[in-house]
């Protein structure tokens, strides 16, 4: 199939009925994934998208690539297995905030230790949508969304801080209603050599009546003279923010400025790339140190069976060490 014919986002769409709520922020993420894949001229069969459980996880059914909808919290290890067994695939991993930072929090931390070359997107809306609006790990302390009986008794984790602490080498945040910007972030995340983490602010119109599209857009605080809203979301790049670790000695300074920016919330919410460091060897490179042919001949692509079904793996060398030969 000629790649050139597949440059339209619509070619990455399936006919599956989409059952998200009207106005769901997930639509923006779905559309931007399809746009990014088209713009990067990806062949659909070379892409695997792996998701966990929740509204976010249904995304894979709407994208025409290999789509693996897994277990609550476990998208990352499934995706890791796919990528490790066939590093020639492009792997995208999707979670919700409860999925990725609550039940799957352990995997979030350990993915950073590996720096495997893939993009992990968290659909971040502060609530567990599919189970009807319970507080998620990114909902702030004291906030009471409409289906909560009491204000949130837990404090929120900061996904950007957590990703940096865990070792992610590309950390970004997008906003699902800024399609053009989000497409750019997804493309950068895919192109990054190493483990990229993208937090996407994604309003849940049904259960999160606090962090709404209107709230992010600043509809509640219009300029008095013009009547124009003052958006809370702003772009880091517009402020001349340079997230790139250009040489290894800059790691501390760049990580520090990323952490500082990630503390901003409320009146001003930064989106864009917080941190990018390609000086850390990828997991693939580390494996190749041990197994020199790993990239060309990874686990998924090795022939294991001969023409008559005979095993091709030759254990002679290993068995020699375990054998007492006849004297």
């Amino acid at each position: 199939m000629a790649v050139e014919q597949l440059l339209k986002p619509a070619d990455f769409a399936t006919e599956v009925h989409n059952d998200w709520c009207p106005g769901c922020g997930d639509f923006g993420i779905l559309r931007t994934i399809q746009m990014a894949l088209a713009e990067l001229k990806m062949e659909p069969h070379r892409v695997a998208i792996v998701s966990g459980i929740g509204c976010s996880a249904k995304t894979v059914h709407y994208v025409k690539t290999y789509g693996i909808h897994t277990l609550h919290g476990r998208a990352l290890p499934y995706a890791t297995g796919v990528k490790l067994a066939n590093p020639q695939l492009k792997v995208l991993c999707l979670s919700g905030d409860g999925d990725g930072l609550g039940i799957g929090g352990g995997h979030f931390v350990n993915a950073g230790r590996r720096n495997l070359d893939m993009l992990y997107i968290i659909h971040d809306n502060g609530v567990y949508g599919l189970t009807k609006g319970q507080a998620s790990p990114t909902l702030k302390l004291g906030v009471q969304t409409k289906s909560l009986a009491h204000p949130n008794i837990n404090d929120a984790v900061n996904p950007i801080w957590l990703a940096l602490a865990a070792g992610a080498t590309w950390v970004g945040r997008g906003y699902s209603y800024d399609i053009k910007h989000l497409v750019g972030l997804i493309k950068q995340g895919i192109d990054h050599k190493g483990y990229a983490f993208l937090d996407v602010l994604q309003p849940c119109p049904t259960y999160n009546d606090i962090n709404t599209k209107e709230w992010y857009g600043g509809e509640d605080r219009k300029e008095s003279n013009t009547g124009r809203p003052l958006p809370r979301v702003y772009k880091l790049e517009d402020q001349g923010f340079d997230p790139v670790v250009h040489e290894p000695g800059q790691v501390e300074a760049k990580a520090t400025q990323a952490l500082e920016k990630a503390l901003e919330w409320g009146d001003r919410i930064p989106i864009g790339v917080f941190y990018k460091n390609e000086h850390v060897p990828t997991f693939e490179a580390r494996i190749t140190e041990r197994i020199p042919t790993y990239m060309e001949n990874p686990p998924a692509l090795q022939p294991i069976v001969g023409p008559n079904g005979e095993p091709r793996t030759d254990l002679t060398r290993i068995l020699q060490r375990l054998t007492f030969k006849a004297s």
Binding site: M1, T70, T80, G106, T313
Partner: protein, 662 residues
């Protein structure tokens, strides 16, 4: 009185000492020396969940014929410290011997904090009954009363001599040599060719010439001294010609070899006893040769890869949930993938196994059983997870269960698990256990030339998939097995979901489709029951028309066969049905041997007679007798013999619980 007849090449030897002191390597050297001398060996390792200081021991049998199990009695006990003597001196046969350090003679039982209170009280009662005191000398005196030969080896003096000879300034640097002194002394009184020990030392310490020489020099001194002290020991070891090549390996290694031969290319694990040994062995053997070209590991360049040079990837994960899900992700790409774990880790894998089952993913889980529940006794043996493996997970999800009973089965099943996982597109759980994993033995190099790899139905371009005729991962049009595509393959895009799904792999809650999909998944299990050969499902040993039949599974095979050989030689009419395929359950094969048996005896290393329950559920046949054990120590040949005999004579209660082992 004429001297007792000599017993040549039929020995039960034991060495013990604190964990971390080198007991492992001394047992290894003893076993390798025997194997080099043409003898068969079987070694059983017992240890506490501890790194340093707690008691550990090896019980090792050396024989001219194949040995598959340990026996309770010890003919020669070797040690360099007090605890082993207090614990095991009573196991030494009256005609046996004890190698010990005379400098420890004044050690009192109460000086040893690691002996459990129950055992300590028991030992005190014993010592009082023998009319002696509480010191090690008293313990030895009690042994001597029975006729046991005492072999005092002044370990410290010998170490001093080695230190002088090799100019070592601190004795602590060579403290581990005491292990080899104990081995050398053992071979001395057994009259075994010392050259075999030197050979074994070279084998174990390979590149370290000084270590070999130091240990050999010390061992030889102990050898000579012991021989002069006990020149006429009843038990002898003699070299015999090695007429055949033999493997010397552990159950963990055997299982790993089978998996490698089966084409496994990806394995995940989270550290857990006793499963980790297998993954560590695989990590040491990541670079693989293909097609007998003897591709050298150093030739790993691009050309090597193009020739099909092999490798496998072992990944240590953050937990067992990641282990099972990562292996499943890898399996989706077409790589033969597995994870290996033990009970607590397996508990965490339930949801992942269900996902693999509903998505028809060929996943292999190697489950090394150990004594549960919860942490249980992490380093001790049990066959307690049969029911668990059979039913693990919520809802109803088909899986295949195979349990290996010996090393050859470990190798074969290692490969077969992948064949069945791919042919029937479902998880296969390979049950092994601590007794198999940690035992090592010599075994004839098995002929594996009949083994074939079967990748099952695959989606290929020949299937003519197109836009109008798209590939359907769960195609219902042609039987329960749908051709399998892998991630990355062109023209076969599919979806998976943990939800119930349609043919494409998209979510459905349609009641009719749900029924069809459930029936599809379970029909594969029926297919497996029909297709898997009988000689994989079960093995039967003994007279065909036996009125008494033992039913067992897993590693009890070794001690059962050894015990039965004795019983058969005495004329007992008893058969033994070893069930290897546990799900789908081989009903006709089991009925063939059980239907007419009047005495049906379950032998299992668990409390609840789990296989017996499954037999009853699947066939309606109930066992008449149960021989069970759940104290964490594997069944011995001798205690099985002692338990089966009364059952055959009708002089046994319905339930016999075995209790031996220390």
């Amino acid at each position: 009185m004429s001297p007792p007849t000599r017993l040549v090449n039929d020995l039960s030897w034991m060495i013990g000492g604190p964990q971390g002191s080198g007991v492992d390597s001394s047992a290894n050297v003893f076993a390798r020396a025997c194997a080099a001398g043409g003898l068969h060996i079987y070694g059983k390792r017992e240890f506490y969940s501890n790194i340093m200081g707690e008691h550990s021991y090896f019980a090792l049998r050396a024989h001219s014929k194949l040995v598959r199990s340990h026996i309770d009695a010890v003919n020669l006990l070797a040690t360099f410290e007090a605890e082993t003597l207090f614990r095991h001196a009573r196991e030494v046969t009256d005609d046996g011997a004890i190698v010990y350090d005379p400098a420890l003679g004044k050690t009192r039982l109460s000086d040893i904090p690691t002996i459990e209170k129950r055992l300590s009280a028991d030992l005190k009662t014993y010592l009082i009954s023998r009319g002696v005191g509480e010191t090690l000398d008293d313990m030895l005196a009690a042994s001597k009363q029975r006729g046991v030969a005492l072999v005092p080896i002044p370990f410290k003096d010998l170490l001093d001599q080695i230190a002088d000879e090799f100019q070592i300034d601190q004795l602590s640097k060579i403290s581990r040599v005491v292990n080899m002194l104990a081995v050398g002394a053992s071979f001395g009184i057994l009259g075994f060719d010392f050259e075999m020990m030197r050979f074994a030392l070279e084998d174990v310490f390979r590149a370290k010439a000084k270590v070999v020489n130091m240990n050999a020099s010390g061992a030889q001194k102990a050898y000579e001294l012991a021989r002069s002290l006990v020149p006429d020991f009843r038990y002898r070891l003699e070299r015999i010609p090695r007429t055949e090549s033999r493997l010397f390996l552990t159950g963990s290694q055997a299982t790993a070899l089978g998996k490698l031969l089966g084409g496994m290319r990806f394995q995940t694990y989270y550290p857990i006893t006793p499963a980790s040994d297998e993954s560590e062995f695989l990590e040491e053997n990541e670079i693989l040769d293909i097609d007998g070209h003897g591709l050298h590991p150093e030739a790993t360049d691009a050309a090597f890869a193009k020739q099909g040079g092999g490798s496998m990837l072992v990944v240590q994960t953050e937990d067992e949930i990641a282990a099972v899900t990562m292996a499943t992700g890898a399996a989706l790409t077409g790589a033969r993938s597995a994870t290996a774990t033990s009970g607590p880790g397996f508990s965490l894998m339930m949801e992942g196994i269900g996902w693999a089952s509903i998505n028809e993913v060929p996943l292999v889980v190697t489950l090394y059983q150990r004594a549960g529940p919860s942490t249980g006794m992490p380093t001790r043996h049990e066959q307690g997870d049969l029911r668990f493996a059979l039913h693990a997970g919520h809802g109803e999800s088909p899986r295949i269960l195979i349990a290996s009973g010996d090393f050859e089965e470990c190798i074969r099943d290692g490969l077969l698990c992948f064949n069945y996982a791919e042919r029937y597109q479902m998880p296969v759980i390979h049950l092994v256990d601590k007794a198999l994993a940690n035992s090592y033995a010599t075994t004839t190099v098995p002929d594996l030339s009949d083994l074939r790899i079967d990748r099952g139905a695959l989606a290929t371009p020949d299937n003519g998939y197109s836009k109008d005729n798209p590939y359907k991962r769960f195609d219902l049009s042609n039987g329960p097995v749908s051709p399998r595509a892998v991630l990355g393959q062109e023209g076969t895009i599919f979806w998976n979901t943990g939800d119930e799904h349609d043919e494409m792999g998209h979510i459905t809650e349609d009641p009719a489709l749900r029924n069809v999909m459930m029936e599809k998944r379970f029909a594969k299990l029926d297919l497996a029951a029909k297709e898997i050969p009988s000689d994989v499902k079960v093995a039967y040993f003994g007279p065909k028309d036996a009125s008494a039949v033992i039913v067992s599974w897993g590693s009890t095979k070794g001690p059962l066969l050894d015990a039965l050989e004795q019983l058969w030689s005495e004329g007992a009419k008893v058969g033994y049905l070893h069930v290897r395929l546990l799900n789908p359950f081989p009903v006709p094969e089991v009925m063939q041997y059980l239907a007419k048996a009047k005495r049906r005896i379950a032998v299992e290393m668990n409390f609840g007679a789990q296989l017996a329950g499954i037999v009853r559920e699947k066939t309606g046949v109930e066992m008449t007798h149960y021989i069970l054990k759940y104290n964490g120590r594997p069944m011995s040949n001798t205690e099985l013999y002692d338990a089966i005999r009364p059952v055959l004579k009708g002089k046994s209660p319905q339930r016999t619980v075995l209790t031996r082992g220390s």
